[in-house]
């Protein structure tokens, strides 16, 4: 099929060509023919060129490289730029870079995927928007009654000030009262809240508390993330990675330190002490000396190997750096400020300030004054080339990490600050993760301090700070609903001593001895028990003629059921037998033995194939010899009963207790019935129910949360209110 089509198309092309250019040179025709023939062999048909005139190679509309047999290069197009003097060097450089780069541009994502991403983002946005309604929805679901429209004015009595606009104090009594109110700083115009109460209300609303708590939670989560991350990073075995990491950290730290010196001298001093400690350790140990095994081997190699020599030099340099004394600038600040950090301060004549309180040799010196600290920086060790490489690496790592974790934004941002031009470096040997942690926290605390414009002492984690904030505000903090709940639990009154059954019943229960004996009571004994005779003031005398036949019938009846008891016992045993499940007999005659008339299946067989059913639960009248209680289920009531436990309840006892109180007016007072059967939703006739707006929602929520506290406040002002 395909071949046929190809042939057809070729023919068409040939025809069209002939039609188009009649009388043109044969050469071209020949060429075309050749091409067509050659294309027949290949699977793909060659693309036909549109244009066939002489100007194949140069066109004002498009670039066609076909004729030259080469691809168009950027240099071809921009070669002239190099020569032109007008173009700026920058653009030239850029173009050169462009030329050298061999990466192709990435394809844009296809439509479906971009849409998917957009949808995801949009979903998150709207979810966040909608989620602020959750509390209100929950509250409305739980509410016993909703009254619509929501923002109705309260129908209760209004204050005088609200009703009468221009009301003035006139009578002496009123004047006296208002004077009192003024003295006690009680509100006069708006007697709902006193200033103190208002303040306390403002101190913390529920929303604020919630936000605070959320912040705390976030901080804690971030910390845990960070710790996890540090652990993970510690496990990475790549030396290169660690080296790079360390360098970056150092750089960062240094930068930080410089800042700290300005903002937080105490913290800087602390760091300085740490450095001093490390210096001491370095001096004590032989770690970066020439005495190590590695160093010795390197020393042998150093003669011949350049790199080995370099490494050795590096090590020595490190030792030098570490053992370098950190210089604290002299007490006169002006000088140091003027000279800057680079200059070496004049410290030679000064006695050494106490930097390390741990070092006993350093004690007994001049009193130490807190001042700005700086450290002497060392020269650059690394070449620029190396640095570049490292930075690239760091950048790469960072990119990867960012891809992995979006959550740790804060930490990442802080820990991986990059400064390409920072040259000052100080090698610190042992700087583990925990130290870094403290650094991180330090920075955080600094940040917060900057924000609040306050100076704080010592090192404080942000979490601690927040907690402190909570505690400090405790005194005048407004109680929210949760607090009240807790209070309620604590002081919950003991349930009123559990009332027993109605009294007559209780008496009954106690008088009746509990029938714990398993032994069945003899029925005859029960019925022939001695009964107490009753004394009657007068004896019955008359026996009428009329009654005689009656009495005869009565006597007859009496003698008819003489063995009443045995009949009853028989009846009862019959019922019991009927209640027991029957034994299922599956024995078949024959099958392994002789079968036939008069032959019984053998004993083992009967034993094997008779299945006993489980015994039924004990009868209700098991211990009552003179009673037969029917075990039949009352199916007629069952159709009206609840057969499945409704939602929040976990067992039947809970549900049954919840519906044990009748709601009808027969058993309750009018007000209770009204309360019990009040409708879930009330709407006002003719009023438009508009959707709740956000402002109103917040108002309603807040009002509900503060209801109780408000109540008490209202009461206090009420007691003094003028009426």
């Amino acid at each position: 099929m395909a071949a046929d089509e190809e042939e057809l198309s070729i023919n068409e092309q040939a025809i069209s060509a002939s039609e188009e250019e009649e009388g043109s040179d044969d050469e071209r025709k020949h060429k075309k023919l050749l091409e067509a023939i050659s294309s027949m062999g290949s699977r793909k048909r060659k693309k036909q060129n549109e244009r066939s005139e002489a100007s194949v190679q140069v066109s004002e509309f498009f670039v066609n490289a076909e004729g030259t047999g080469e691809k168009v290069n950027l240099s071809d197009l921009l070669g002239t730029v190099e020569k032109t003097s007008g173009a700026s060097n920058k653009t030239k450089k850029q173009l050169r870079n462009l030329q050298s780069s061999k990466e192709t541009l990435e394809l844009p994502l296809n439509k479906q995927q971009t849409e998917k991403i957009q949808r995801g983002i949009a979903y998150e946005k709207t979810a966040a928007e909608v989620s602020c309604w959750r509390n209100i929805i929950l509250q409305n679901q739980k509410a016993e009654q909703m009254v619509f429209p929501l923002n109705q004015e309260s129908s209760g009595p209004k204050r005088v000030e609200q009703v009468v606009a221009g009301w003035k104090v006139q009578t002496p009594l009123e004047q006296e009262i208002f004077r009192l109110l003024h003295i006690n700083s009680q509100p006069v115009d708006d007697p709902v809240l006193t200033p103190v109460e208002e303040q306390s209300l403002k101190a913390m609303s529920l929303e604020e508390a919630k936000i605070r708590r959320a912040e705390l939670q976030k901080a804690r989560a971030l910390q845990s993330y960070y710790e996890a991350k540090a652990k993970r990073e510690k496990k990475i075995k790549s030396k290169k990675y660690h080296r790079v990491q360390k360098k970056a950290k150092c750089k960062d730290f240094l930068k930080q330190f410089d800042e700290m010196v300005k903002t937080n001298p105490e913290g800087a001093l602390e760091e300085l002490k740490k450095m001093e400690l490390s210096r001491m350790e370095e001096r004590m140990s032989l770690k970066h000396q020439n005495s190590g095994k590695w160093a010795k081997s390197k020393a042998i190699m150093a003669k011949y190997d350049d790199s080995a020599r370099k490494a050795m030099q590096e090590q020595l340099q490190m030792n030098k750096d570490l053992t370098q004394k950190i210089v604290v600038p002299s007490d006169d600040e002006h000088e140091s400020n003027e000279e800057g950090l680079e200059t070496i301060p004049d410290f030679v004549n000064d006695s050494e300030p106490v930097i390390d309180s741990v070092n006993p040799w350093m004690r007994g010196q001049l009193t130490h004054e807190e001042s700005e600290v700086s450290c002497v920086t060392t020269e650059d060790v690394q070449t620029a080339e190396e640095e570049n490489e490292e930075e690239e690496l760091v950048g790469e790592f960072e990119r990867k990490r960012k891809l992995r974790q979006v959550v740790e934004e804060d930490v990442v941002e802080v820990s991986d600050k990059e400064e390409g031009d920072d040259d000052d470096e100080e090698e610190e040997e042992e700087e583990d993760v925990s130290e870094f942690n403290t650094l991180f926290r330090l920075m955080r605390s600094e940040k917060t301090l900057e924000g609040s414009n306050q100076t704080r002492e010592g090192l404080n984690t942000p979490g601690q700070e927040d907690e402190d904030g909570f505690l400090n505000e405790g005194q005048i903090r407004v109680r929210n609903i949760e607090d009240l709940e807790v209070l309620g639990e604590v002081v919950d009154p003991q349930p009123i001593a559990e009332p027993s059954l109605p009294q007559a019943v209780a008496v009954e229960a106690t008088s009746e001895p509990p029938n714990k004996k398993k032994r069945e009571i003899d029925l005859k004994e029960v019925l022939t028990k001695e009964a107490k005779a009753v004394k009657v003031p007068f004896l019955p005398t008359v026996v009428d003629e009329e009654e005689r036949d009656e009495q005869i019938s009565i006597i007859k009846e009496a003698f008819a059921g003489d063995d009443v008891i045995s009949d009853f016992i028989k009846d009862k045993s019959k019922r019991e037998a009927a209640g027991r499940p029957e034994v299922v007999d599956l024995t078949l005659p024959g099958w392994g033995e002789w079968g036939g008339v008069g032959l019984k299946p053998s004993r083992w067989k009967r034993k094997r194939f008779r299945i006993k059913m489980a015994p039924p639960p004990p009868r209700q009248d098991q211990k009552l010899p003179d009673v037969i209680i029917s075990e039949n289920r009352n199916a007629s009531v069952a159709s009206h009963q609840v057969s499945q436990l409704p939602f929040p309840f976990q067992n039947t006892a809970q549900f049954e207790s919840s519906i044990r109180t009748p709601i009808g007016p027969t058993w309750n007072t009018q007000s209770v019935v009204k309360n019990m059967t009040k409708p879930k939703v009330i709407t006002k006739m003719g009023a438009i129910i508009e959707p709740m707006d956000a402002f109103l929602a917040v108002l309603v929520l807040g009002a509900n949360h503060r209801n109780k506290s408000k109540l008490s406040i209202a009461f206090s002002s009420h007691s003094l209110r003028f009426k």
Binding site: P499, E546, F568, D626, T661
Partner: protein, 595 residues
């Protein structure tokens, strides 16, 4: 109302009778102070917590200036306390505590329901204040038995209206067989219905003594009963059951109910239960005129019948000394109790449904606890009791021959030794009935009808929404509509009246079985396969049959397939096991040395 009696305590003192017949004056709320004080701290705890904020704020406001208080303290702050006894009276079930690990929703549900029931209980206890009347009683001298005091003396001592309640109506022409003071759980107590053995039926207004109607049905009358109002009554005549209105007009002759001996009317269910000589127990729904149930008891002649007002279960007494309990929903007795050696002559059940009193031919009087079906005590009456009746306050009247004895404190653990009151009448006693909300007992006997004052028999406080003895005709009409709307369906009758508020814990299978039984078909059953009609000759009888065969026994095949699969698996396992065993068996002890 006994209030009429109790308003004259001073009078009694003036005349210095040797016995006292009075009732306590109504208690006032200020008389219970010592009781409430005891209760108070516990009571107030709940409110104290609620008012905590209030009180603190209040204190602050009061002690603003140098601690001096600006206001006087309210001596009766907070809600009025409720006496513990009253609270207990309206307790409904045990309080349920929130379980430890309960979820939020559950907690809320339980707490709200508990709060609601507590509120209901408290409010009801508060409104108990509106029932201030106390029951009357009769008290003799130190050496005098109350049962020797004659009715004439009582009538003289009591106020005029109470005294006028003692009267005799002589129906000389017709011997009275049965009477009923209108069974008034809900109808006003003013109406007396009397039926004579030889067909004489009369309705009388109890207090005004007006004759509403009097007639002769010209047949033996076995029983008479008021229906739900005083406008209608049922008469069990020799053959059929008849229903008349208060003017004596015959409304219905119910021929489905024949040879009725006894009747009971269940007021809240609008059911008329009849026991016939043929051993049938039938239920007639009076509101729709339909027979609800007809049960063949197979116990012979049923001439002893009573109802349990608590759960509307019918009690029948039988000649073989047993008592059986029936509901319209079961064809067999709910409970059968062997009470007497001889036949049961009479039985009655108290208002709360806790006690049953029976008397038999063996001349015994027995008191049963019918919640546990256990006898509490029995006593021996010289002549046996032919009729029994319990008053609203638990006074038992027993008719022995021509004497009516009234017993006090029968419903308890201790047996009685002597009657509270006794009264001799002319002729054999046939019927006894207490008048609700009154201290009066009506007695039907050979010479006619006599009423007797029994102090402390009637309930002093009535619920006017339920049963108002003083209601007008308008109120009655309204009540009738309400009662019909609130009619309890006969399916709900059972031993436990609270069954409805319990969760049905039967399995799905059982419920489905019952459902199928009730419907007569299985709603969940699979339809039988019905082949579609196809065209072009493919729906020929043969083809249809073929298609049917394809589907036939599909379920059975599935089952078979399953069992076969199981069996093969089992065989496989066994085979493997046996193989292992074999392998083990082939090994000799020396194999362990082999390498």
């Amino acid at each position: 109302m006994d209030s009429l009696i109790c308003y004259l305590p001073n009078k009694v003192n003036i005349y210095e009778f040797d016995w006292l017949f009075l009732t306590q004056p109504p208690k006032r709320y200020w008389e219970e102070t010592e009781n409430t004080d005891q209760r108070r701290p516990e009571e107030e705890q709940g409110t104290a917590v609620q008012n905590q904020n209030k009180s603190t704020v209040k204190e602050r406001s009061l002690k603003r200036k140098n601690g001096e208080s600006l206001e006087k303290k309210d001596p009766f702050s907070g809600e009025a306390p409720i006496p513990h006894k009253q609270l207990q009276k309206f307790q409904r079930g045990e309080k349920y505590k929130v379980p430890a690990g309960a979820r939020q929703r559950l907690k809320e549900a339980i707490i709200s329901s508990e709060a609601m029931s507590e509120l209901a209980q408290k409010q009801a206890a508060r409104y108990d204040l509106l029932l201030p009347e106390d029951a009357g009683f009769l008290e003799g001298d130190e050496d005098e038995d109350t049962n020797t005091i004659s009715q004439d003396d009582i009538a003289d001592a009591a106020d005029i209206t109470s005294g006028s309640k003692v009267y005799v109506i002589a129906f000389s022409l017709y011997l009275l067989k049965k009477l009923q003071i209108q069974k008034n759980v809900f109808v006003c107590n003013r109406h007396l219905l009397v039926g004579g053995k030889k067909g004489h039926v009369a309705c009388i207004d109890w207090q005004s003594k007006d004759l509403m109607c009097e007639m002769n049905v010209m047949e033996t009358v076995n029983d008479v009963k008021w229906l739900h109002t005083e406008a209608m009554f049922a008469v069990a005549q020799k053959r059929w059951l008849y229903i008349y209105d208060s003017k004596g007009l015959e409304l219905h002759c119910v021929k489905k109910f024949n040879d009725v001996l006894r009747m009971q009317f269940l007021p809240y269910h609008f059911l008329l239960a009849t026991a016939s000589a043929t051993g049938f127990l039938q239920y007639l729904d009076v509101s729709v005129g339909k027979e609800i149930a007809a049960i063949c008891t197979k116990m012979g002649r049923l001439d002893v019948m009573s109802q349990n007002p608590h759960n509307a279960v019918i009690h029948l007494g039988h000649p073989n000394g047993t008592i059986s309990l029936w509901s319209p929903n079961q064809k067999e007795p709910l409970v059968k109790i062997l009470c007497h050696r001889g036949a049961v002559r009479s039985l009655t059940v108290d208002k709360t449904g806790t006690y049953m009193v029976t008397s038999g031919l063996d001349r015994k009087l027995k008191v049963y606890d019918i919640r546990a079906f256990k006898p509490l005590h029995s006593c021996f009456l010289p002549a046996g009791a032919s009729c029994l009746s319990l008053s609203q306050r638990g006074l038992l009247s027993a008719a022995t021959g021509d004497i009516v004895q009234v017993y006090q404190n029968v419903l308890g653990s201790s047996p009685v030794s002597k009657p509270y009151m006794a009264h001799r009448l002319q002729g054999q006693i046939w019927g006894l009935a207490y008048c609700p909300f009154e201290d009066v007992l009506g007695i039907g006997h050979g010479e006619g009808f006599t009423s007797m004052i029994v102090p402390g028999a009637g309930e002093p406080n009535f619920d006017a929404l339920d049963t108002n003895p003083f209601r007008s005709s308008k109120q009655r009409q309204e009540w009738e509509v309400k009662a019909l709307l609130e009619k309890v369906q006969p399916e709900l009758i059972g031993l436990d009246p609270g069954q409805l508020s319990k969760v049905d814990q039967a399995s799905f299978e059982q419920r489905h079985k019952e459902h199928v039984e009730a419907l007569g078909f299985d709603p969940l059953a699979k339809d039988k396969f019905k082949p579609k009609t196809k065209k072009k000759g493919r729906s020929s009888a043969g083809a249809i049959e073929k298609r049917k065969r394809k589907v036939a026994h599909e379920d059975q095949r599935d089952k078979i397939r399953q069992t076969v699969q199981e069996r093969t698996e089992r065989d496989k396992e066994q085979k493997e096991k046996s193989n292992e065993k074999k392998n083990l068996g082939n090994k000799s002890t020396l194999d362990r040395f082999r390498k």
